[in-house]
């Protein structure tokens, strides 16, 4: 750890790399001088124009709102059901193979079913994003709960702890590190699910804007939006990473 810190604060190396990538981009775009390969300047220019547009900002707000709701629901439902199932050895054994199989199906093939039952709109898009996030969250939590230290469980049994007390004092603290990793992982998956859904059936939202620009052949707008989505995803991801790090430091079993 100390060796890695030797180069100064931890955020400097990734920043240097990012700057290098932008530099390479600028140079290659200038050399290519192609209509379908805009440089960072053009991309940012069109992004600025987009941000000034109320319709576009409405799309951003729609995506953010649906994302927040579906993400919160995926985390909550996945964590709680996963933990409850993980407590029962029988139901874990019964359900895990099925859910793993379900999870390995590319979710997008299920999307027509969502459209069929929920129609085009926030509900089907949000539900699809929810399912993209909730399955991995659920699986992570089942595994984490089933993996609670046997020694800790024995100790609890020897103290004659009630089920509720066991849940609160042993199980929940034990699964917190996995919960934090799951939250970070599922944020990305929920976002992908939502953007995909918007591309297929949107009348608004960032995924819809991306495809709309494609049909209008506005490559610099697309690149600008990619940057915007990157930044929008990066901030929560970094925050979740920090959260995970803190929780791991405190709660992880280091035998």
């Amino acid at each position: 750890m100390s060796a890695r810190r030797a180069g100064g604060p931890a955020w400097i190396p990734p920043l240097v790399l990012a700057a290098a990538i932008v530099a390479v981009w600028t140079v290659t775009a200038a050399l290519a001088d192609s209509a379908v390969y805009p440089g960072p300047g053009q991309a940012l220019e069109s992004l600025r124009a987009d941000i000034g547009d109320t319709r576009f900002m409405g799309s951003v707000a729609d995506t953010a709102r649906v994302l927040l709701l579906s993400y919160a629901a995926a985390i909550g439902v996945g964590a709680i059901t996963g933990m409850l199932l993980g407590l029962s050895a029988f139901w874990s054994r019964a359900a895990l193979p099925v859910v793993y199989a379900l999870n390995s199906v590319p979710k997008i093939v299920l999307y027509p079913i969502f459209l069929l039952f929920l129609g085009i709109g926030d509900l089907s898009r949000g539900s699809f994003a929810f399912v993209s996030g909730v399955l991995p969250m659920f699986l992570i939590m089942v595994e984490a709960t089933a993996g609670v230290s046997r020694l800790h469980l024995k100790m609890s049994a020897s103290l004659g702890m009630s089920r509720w007390s066991l849940l609160r004092r042993i199980v929940v603290p034990s699964v917190l590190p996995s919960l934090a990793s799951g939250m970070r992982l599922c944020f990305g998956l929920t976002l992908i699910g939502l953007l995909l859904a918007e591309m297929f059936s949107g009348s608004s939202g960032l995924g819809y804007e991306l495809l709309r620009n494609l049909s209008l052949a506005r490559v610099e707008n697309i690149i600008g939006q990619v940057i915007l989505i990157g930044v929008l995803a990066l901030v929560p991801t970094l925050a979740l990473q920090q959260l995970e790090l803190r929780i791991r430091n405190r709660y992880e079993v280091t035998a």
């Binding site: 020694l151 100790m155 049994a157 020897s158 004659g160 405190r250 079993v253």
Partner: protein
């Protein structure tokens, strides 16, 4: 301590009820006959060790007495009453990782009291005393990850003491520690146990450790484990590590090793042929 030693020597049927009394205890896991039949009596304040080859059923026996599993056959009485579930005054010391990594030293020690509904102020006060007793004063607010293996085991010991036990069951508590720490911890355990005067059932792989600590060492044969020898250890207390070089102590160690060796050799061959 001398009175306790005396009590143990004339543990005739008329003596006060022993803390642990097992008769014909057996355990089966499916088709595997894991343990017994075993008879075992532990007197009040007596320190009994069990040594034996790996997989002979020592831990199973301890878990039966601790009510963590039910025996397939036989009767288990603790403190004169048939065992029906975990007892308040039985404390179990597991391996070192049984400390909860998300709790500070003092909150780990207070854990058993918390589970039993003792108020925060009272349990922390009691926990602080115990932290002091096991020599961890100044580390109250450290987390287990910040402690050495030996210190973590002191935390587990203090937690075991917290409920005023009359019986301590220790399942290879120092198994994960290095040799020096092990010896120091053994002396520490003796000091603390002598102070509260409870009965102890101690499971270990280390013959030295068993001789240093115990009033009596029971040697368990390979699976299904039964006792094949009982070795009384007549060393004066309080004992320190030096006591191990006394003639009676070396004789006891030789005797135990001879038994274990024969059993372990057979067990090794048996495990190889049945994977």
């Amino acid at each position: 301590m001398t009175t306790q030693m005396k009590e143990k020597r004339d543990s005739a049927p008329t003596a006060p009820t022993p803390i642990v009394q097992l008769e014909g205890v057996e355990q089966h896991f499916g088709p595997v006959h894991a343990l017994g039949p075993v008879d075992l009596t532990i007197g009040r304040g007596e320190f009994v060790s069990i040594v034996g080859p790996s997989g002979c059923g020592k831990s199973t026996l301890l878990e039966i007495i601790g009510a963590l599993q039910d025996p397939a056959r036989g009767s288990v009485e603790v403190d004169g009453a048939p065992l029906t579930g975990p007892r308040r005054r039985t404390a179990i010391v597991f391996q070192e990782s049984a400390t909860l990594p998300w709790r500070t030293v003092v909150d780990n020690v207070a854990f058993a009291l918390e589970v039993r509904g003792i108020g925060r102020k009272e349990r922390r006060e009691r926990a602080r005393e115990l932290v002091e007793l096991v020599g961890l004063g100044g580390f109250e607010n450290h987390y287990p990850a910040q402690l050495s293996g030996g210190m973590r085991q002191r935390v587990a010991m203090a937690r075991a003491m917290s409920t005023d036990p009359d019986l301590i069951l220790a399942d290879e508590p120092f198994g994960a520690l290095d040799e020096q720490t092990r010896m120091l911890m053994a002396e520490e355990l003796l000091r603390v146990v002598e102070r509260i005067g409870c009965g102890v059932l101690f499971i270990t792989h280390s013959i030295q450790e068993s001789v240093l600590l115990s009033d009596r060492v029971l040697v368990m044969g390979r699976r299904p484990g039964t006792f094949i020898d009982e070795v009384p250890i007549d060393l004066p207390r309080p004992r320190m590590h030096a006591a191990l070089s006394e003639p009676s102590a070396t004789a006891a160690q030789e005797r135990i090793w001879a038994q274990i060796r024969a059993e372990a050799e057979v067990a090794m061959v048996a495990t190889r042929s049945t994977p």
